[in-house]
């Protein structure tokens, strides 16, 4: 009984901040401008399918790069002294204390014409444009979300019982086998929550592409941002479709892990 009472505030919270907004978005998405039932918002939403797939592609690419960068880092972290582990964790976290927009803005300055990167590469005789393209957007996203990949993987890995690793070694496994058959499978829950924590926000992000991308790099989050003020119906429909895509993605992720992704 007691636990039920304790959970009441949370239930109220979820009702007010999750369920009601969700229902409102749902209702808005099925109305036309006059407020009658209509599928028109969805018809409009499909006009943006190009942006949709590009956004999902950018999000997927960013997630993959994050994973490739984060996994070895997390693994190395667990093998360090406790004090260095704390230090590096701290260094990973510090940028997140800074405002998100400032960090993206710093990237604009790094990548712009005659900026540090351009100047350095010009000295080596390499000339190019490093901003205003999809690559710059992906770089920004990876930078933004990398800690969200490292931390869950690291947390899960650091909890792996060293006894298991020693047992594998005692039974004659070499380094690669220990990794492939003990460490990697045990770290999967961390990988899955890392992927979720990077993919979901990056698929719906906005502003990053406005700052780092060119005219063709608009993302679905930007479209929602732009359209919502004048046409909240289409805006709602787009975000509903995006939610469905993300849900499907999470369900697929779930097939790999033990219900880690959604729950």
């Amino acid at each position: 009984m007691k636990s039920k009472k304790l959970s009441l505030p949370y239930i109220a919270w979820m009702l007010v901040f999750t369920m009601i907004p969700l229902v409102m978005i749902g209702i808005t998405a099925f109305k036309d401008r006059q407020g009658n039932f209509s599928l028109e918002p969805f018809a409009n939403a499909f006009g943006y399918s190009g942006v949709f797939f590009k956004s999902l592609w950018i999000a997927l690419l960013s997630t993959l790069i994050c994973l490739v960068l984060a996994y070895p880092l997390a693994y190395l972290l667990t093998r360090m002294k406790k004090s260095s582990q704390n230090l590096i964790q701290m260094l990973l976290m510090i940028p997140m204390w800074m405002n998100f927009l400032l960090r993206i803005y710093a990237w604009v300055i790094l990548l712009q014409k005659n900026g540090p990167l351009d100047t350095a590469l010009s000295l080596l005789g390499i000339h190019g444009t490093y901003i205003g393209n999809t690559g710059a957007v992906v770089v920004g996203m990876v930078y933004e979300y990398l800690p969200f990949m490292v931390l869950p993987i690291y947390t899960v890995m650091s909890k792996i019982d060293t006894g298991l690793i020693e047992a594998a070694q005692d039974l004659g496994s070499n380094g690669a086998q220990v990794f492939g058959r003990v460490i990697f499978p045990l770290s999967l829950p961390g990988v899955i929550s890392g992927i979720t924590m990077v993919f979901v926000p990056s698929a719906s992000t906005f502003l990053v592409s406005q700052y780092l991308g060119g005219t063709d790099d608009i993302m679905i989050g930007d479209v929602i941002d732009k359209i919502f003020w004048t046409d909240s119906n289409t805006g709602s429909a787009i975000s509903l479709v995006l939610m469905v895509f993300i849900f499907v993605f999470l369900v697929i992720m779930n097939l790999f892990g033990d219900e880690e992704a959604i729950a």
Partner: protein, 358 residues
Amino acid sequence: MKKILSIILCAAMLCALTTGIAGCSGGGAESKGEVNVYNWGEYIAAGQDGLMDVCEEFEKETGIKVNYTTYETNEELYSMLKQSNVSYDVIVPSEYMISKLIKENMLQELNFDNIPNYANLDERFKTLAGDPEGKYTVCYNWGVTAIVYDKTKVENKPRDWDALWDETLEGEILMFNNSRDAMAIAMQLCGIDPSKCTKEDVDKATEKLKEQKPLLKKYVMDQVFNEMEGSQSAIAPYYAGDIAMMMEENEDLDYCLPESGSNLFYDAFCIPTCSKNKENAEAFINFMHKPEIAAENCKYLRYGTPNTKAIELLDDEIKNSELTFPSEDYLKKCYVFADVDEDVYAYMQEKFVEIQAN
């Protein structure tokens, strides 16, 4: 550097905004000594660069407490008035939002007996489109859109809006990331009067903007400062007052007032129907048009002030700047982009997103 500072300021203002909203909707409204001002972000002299803190000055003089909060777009202002239970006393919408608010009965008629400084205003700015009878508004600032360009990058001196379609500048052109301003420019090039536009006109403008897209570096709003001041791009359309600011930061920049005319925009003080301190609001509006106060705001914003007495107090450099005060002849070629049909406006917005998304 300035840009970074402005971002920090923005962040600070956002904080102020969120706390402010909580403050406004809560108590306060019924107590006599307050005025809830809801203005654009960074749209008032508030002690920057040694200028006066106007709100503080008002509090000192009248004893009325100013609760100052800000918004970033007219639409944000609108949805705040429409959908939340707030009470603002002074708002500063732009021309097209004014006509919409009047149509929807969301503004109160002003009592000009409480605003004696209204007499300081140039007649031209008392009956602008949007509020043609001048019953609901007191113009705060006005300006035109113009072109800013980098002399080291642009060889042919731009004369008109078509300079933004110049193929030799491919990849170096910036464009408004805002449907109204972008569409207005495209319509002018198609020979359409934007203030009377229809959906067909929007379609034509859309085609024109689609033609331009491959030549563009980016659609920008505030980023234009960094792009132009930092010599990152060659040419951009923007608000003339802001161009004056950019030119102070980068000597290579120059401006052009397009020959075919331009959009005359303005923002005006209004009192929404939700106001509970109407007299304080009028006192605030009146204070803002004291010549020395209006001059102070003009020095900070570099947008034109309609207050003729304030203009006399300005330095020659500002007073004679064509960007802040375009000539009478030029203003004859300008139009006010107000009173566009709701449907057409929504269609314009939709089409603009479509241009960017495809």
